[in-house]
Symmetry: C2
Subunit: 325 residues, 2 copies
């Protein structure tokens, strides 16, 4: 019986605190006890489940999928965006918006941003960033050379420049092709002082924004603008690669896949990426699902922004192997 009276009292205290929003000191005075006791009663009220706190996710948000992604891949954070249809265009737009919002909200002063320029999703992100008046970031560093024809390469530089302008940072473009003609050609290009200067900043990057690419005839070929030969692509596939970040490949287990191509790519390596404080990956879409799954397993990524359909597929995938790092 005395326990019931005690619970009765606890319930009353909980009522006064949570519903009537009185301060503990006032409740204590009212009931002639110490504030410490009120605090303890409230703790007990939690334990006894006399007070219950529920967090309701607003519709259009996917807290559960996010939690699932975090748990499955050991991510620091995950953002799953609403998306009406499972179509690449729509998905990129939504991810870009969310990424822009996230960047604006969490960008630190003096940040060194690395951006793997050739990704349409990242482009969408940049389009959605509002100019920040007080220069927040320090440098924006392009982490992969331009791709394909000079026009597209120009575009990539512009993306970097624009992001730098929006964040009030200094732009460090990588005035080189993403893929050199040969190992020797790469060495020559690396001799350029501007290229070298930018690449030396790779180690200083505090926030990297990257896209994830899928390795499969259509995707890869389309993106590469024919800089890789069919033969080379076949090699990559045979080596087990399922996707790339900045043209660095990994397999479905998240293991890095070394290929002769590495010798020709001018851009950040996965090892360098792994050392960056925050690595944010932007990717979604049916065709990229496997690539994203592998990318997450590399342990390089801290935060993934994706769409609800892809998130669902990533969480569903039955692979008993335990998640990344």
């Amino acid at each position: 019986m005395s326990r019931l009276n005690e619970l009765r009292m606890i319930a009353r205290v909980a009522q006064m605190y949570h519903v009537e929003r009185q301060r503990q000191a006032d409740i204590a005075k009212h009931l002639r006890m110490s504030q410490a006791t009120v605090s303890r009663m409230l703790k007990k009220a939690q334990e006894e489940e006399i007070v219950r706190t529920t967090v309701v996710a607003p519709s259009g948000t996917y807290a559960e999928l996010e939690a699932g992604l975090r748990a499955r891949f050991g991510l620091t954070e995950a953002i799953v965006v609403e998306c009406s249809e499972d179509r690449d265009g729509a998905i990129m737009a939504r991810i870009g918006e969310a990424a822009a919002h996230f960047l604006e909200a969490t960008l630190q002063p003096e940040e060194v941003i690395g951006v793997s320029s050739w990704s349409e999703t990242i482009l969408r992100m940049v389009e959605n960033i509002h100019p920040m008046k007080s220069g927040k970031a320090k440098y924006v560093v392009q982490t992969l050379g331009g791709m394909g024809n000079p026009t597209v390469q120009m575009h990539a530089n512009q993306l970097t420049t624009r992001l730098a302008k929006l964040t009030g940072a200094e732009a460090n473009v990588l005035s080189a092709p993403g893929v050199a003609q040969s190992r020797e050609a790469k060495l020559v290009l690396l001799g350029d002082p501007f290229v070298r200067e930018t690449m030396e900043l790779f180690g200083k990057i505090t926030l990297a924004i990257i896209g994830i690419g899928a390795v499969e005839p259509s995707g890869m070929l389309a993106r590469s603008g024919n800089v890789f030969s069919k033969r080379e692509l076949a090699d990559v596939t045979e080596a087990g690669a399922v996707g790339d970040m900045s043209l660095r490949f990994f397999d479905s287990d998240g293991k890095f896949v070394k290929t002769p191509l590495d010798e020709r790519v001018i851009g950040i390596t996965l090892e360098e990426l792994a050392k960056v404080d925050r690595v944010i990956a932007l990717a979604g879409g049916q065709t990229k699902t496997n690539a994203i799954d592998g990318a997450l397993k590399t342990g390089v990524i801290d935060l993934l922004i994706t769409d609800k359909f892809t998130a669902q597929r990533l969480v569903d995938t039955e692979g008993q192997r335990n998640a990344a790092e």
Copy 2:
């Protein structure tokens, strides 16, 4: 769209704070924002009803009835006890237990307790009090003389003495009948130095424990032990009295009813009672409902302890008149 992203973020913060029980500073660090912002987001989460806190009353407690009583009668507190049947014996036992628990939990050091001795419910309370080793109260003052035959009078004194012993206080009994034979007899009795000493303490009482009596042939007559004549009782009834506290009467509107009897009663007055810091009334039962209703309307009572049946009747009673003081 940005609003959705903001809500998404708020929901995530709420999740981290309420479910994962992380500190605001840690959440802030994780999401790269200031603790102040996290605090604000959590506030917003409340407003947006993303977090909901519910207080569930443990079964066997009647938070709603208590709230109803408080609202209707302007009480500081109300305690409604579980009770299996609407029968006086059972009700008194439960109220007594609850009162004992409440007293133990909230008794202040140096308290001067006034106790209107002749009430079976109060007796039950005293029976349930555990002895308090460290003398908590200062005095226990009997606020109404004994009633009826000397044996019963003795009993009343014992109740006071016992309560004093249990609370480690000094007992101040009122060695006089509760009702003198006449106005003159009362004056003589008041001349007694011990009686006077006790009555002078009435003004010092910080906590009064009283019962509520019903005015109706059976109740009143039974209690009075024939000290009041039929004629006198009829007068009281005609004056509109519905009940009494310490033999001081009031009507159904809570207005004090002065009667010739007042001249004969040796005990605390309602005016004196009104000045006491905490007045705790113990009463329940079908027959006392109207008396309790009137008593609460006097505005003298700060805290009522009653049973669920009586509480229900008190809250239900439709009297549009607005509640007490």
